[in-house]
């Protein structure tokens, strides 16, 4: 489990550097690969990591009704080792949400690996909530406190491992050169893309997103994080 500095952030978790979070995701991938004779590749089998390796009880449920939260995506109960994902993310009922479903699972795995030690020590977690312990984290699309952002970072690193993504990029592009948003053909082709850099970048990285079974938004963020997708053309390109 990742160890952070002793300074706790507002929601009770320590500050973690991005490198620590990425290293922890890499450790989990390595552990699963060893345990299941799997070679780290895309798409990462997040369902199997959750249920077969981390041995967490996984369920799909109407969390909006259960937790009375409009935009809930998933929740984790540390004491009972449960992860629940909202029924609206069912990838068979909503195939376009497969990426978001997988990201939510990876995000909850992030809470499990990064944060559970801080909550297992919290006696307030035992209070009753709908017949179960209160979830340690209720993960919503609109509210992103530090622990949620850390879990997002973990999910990105887990589902899009640095080495796998870089080698896939190299195969796709023929090199490891970064691409700047101004160079994207989408900007020339789509009027709406000109108004929105994110749209243009996400159109561009859609093939990679499909290969890794993540949303184009998640792929765009990870590629920016790895320095492969840029918002400005660097001077060195001229």
């Amino acid at each position: 489990m990742a160890r952070g500095s002793s300074t706790l952030l507002r929601d009770g978790v320590p500050f973690l550097h991005e490198k620590q979070i990425e290293a922890e995701a890499q450790v989990l991938l390595g552990e699963y690969a060893d345990a299941h004779a799997w070679q780290i590749s895309a798409p990462v089998p997040i369902d199997e990591i959750i249920e077969l390796y981390l041995k967490l009880t996984f369920a799909i449920e109407d969390l909006q009704a259960l937790l009375h939260v409009d935009d809930v995506l998933g929740a984790i109960w540390f004491t009972t080792k449960e992860i629940r994902v909202d029924v609206r993310l069912d990838p068979i009922a909503n195939p376009l949400l497969l990426g978001r479903y997988r990201f939510t699972l990876a995000h909850e795995a992030g809470h499990w690996r990064l944060h559970r030690q801080y909550y297992l020590e919290d006696p307030n977690q035992g209070k009753l909530f709908d017949g179960r312990g209160q979830p340690a984290f209720v993960c919503r699309s609109s509210v992103r406190p530090p622990a949620e952002r850390q879990a997002d970072m973990f999910a990105g690193c887990l589902l899009m491992p640095r080495d796998v993504l870089r080698s896939t990029w190299q195969q796709w592009r023929g090199n490891l050169d970064p691409v700047a948003v101004q160079q994207l053909p989408a900007l020339a082709l789509h009027a709406e893309a000109k108004r929105n850099e994110n749209v243009a970048m996400e159109r561009f990285c859609r093939p990679l997103a499909d290969q890794f079974e993540v949303s184009a938004e998640a792929m765009r963020i990870r590629l920016e994080n790895l320095g492969l997708l840029l918002r400005e053309v660097p001077n060195t390109l001229f």
Binding site: E48, E51, L52, I60, P91, I92
Partner: protein, 120 residues
């Protein structure tokens, strides 16, 4: 029911995990949605899965179909018409054999098979 007896949903989930299948993969193999599979595993469905679905689940898990269907509280589709075809003898036979040990039942089945073979 004893307090510690596992429900069908709990047994199903454990067998699926033992088989090394995630909820989503198992649902795909059986031909149901992950949400439905999850509800079954949480015993949140109004009635047990259909015999057709239970048969597919048993096949994926490598379980005996009849036992698995019975575990869910259903009866295989072919049994009611078989019983109704011989309303005098077959209910009597079932009631008579109730309480016999598994080995005794196996002997009876073996004898019945021999009798059928002789008829051919």
């Amino acid at each position: 029911m004893p307090h510690n007896r596992k429900t069908f949903g709990q047994i199903l989930r454990q067998k699926r995990i033992d088989k090394g299948l995630s909820l989503r993969k198992f649902a795909e193999l059986v031909g149901v949605s992950p949400t439905y599979q999850s509800q079954v595993e949480q015993d949140k469905v109004e009635s047990p899965p259909t015999v057709e679905r239970l048969t597919r689940m048993a096949d994926v898990l490598g379980e005996d179909r009849d036992q698995f269907i019975s575990l869910a509280g259903r009866v295989a589709d072919d049994l009611p018409p078989i019983i109704q075809s011989r309303p005098d003898e077959l209910p009597k036979l079932l009631r008579t054999t109730q309480g016999l040990a598994p080995e005794q039942l196996r002997q009876l089945i073996a004898q019945a098979k021999k009798m059928k073979e002789k008829e051919k």
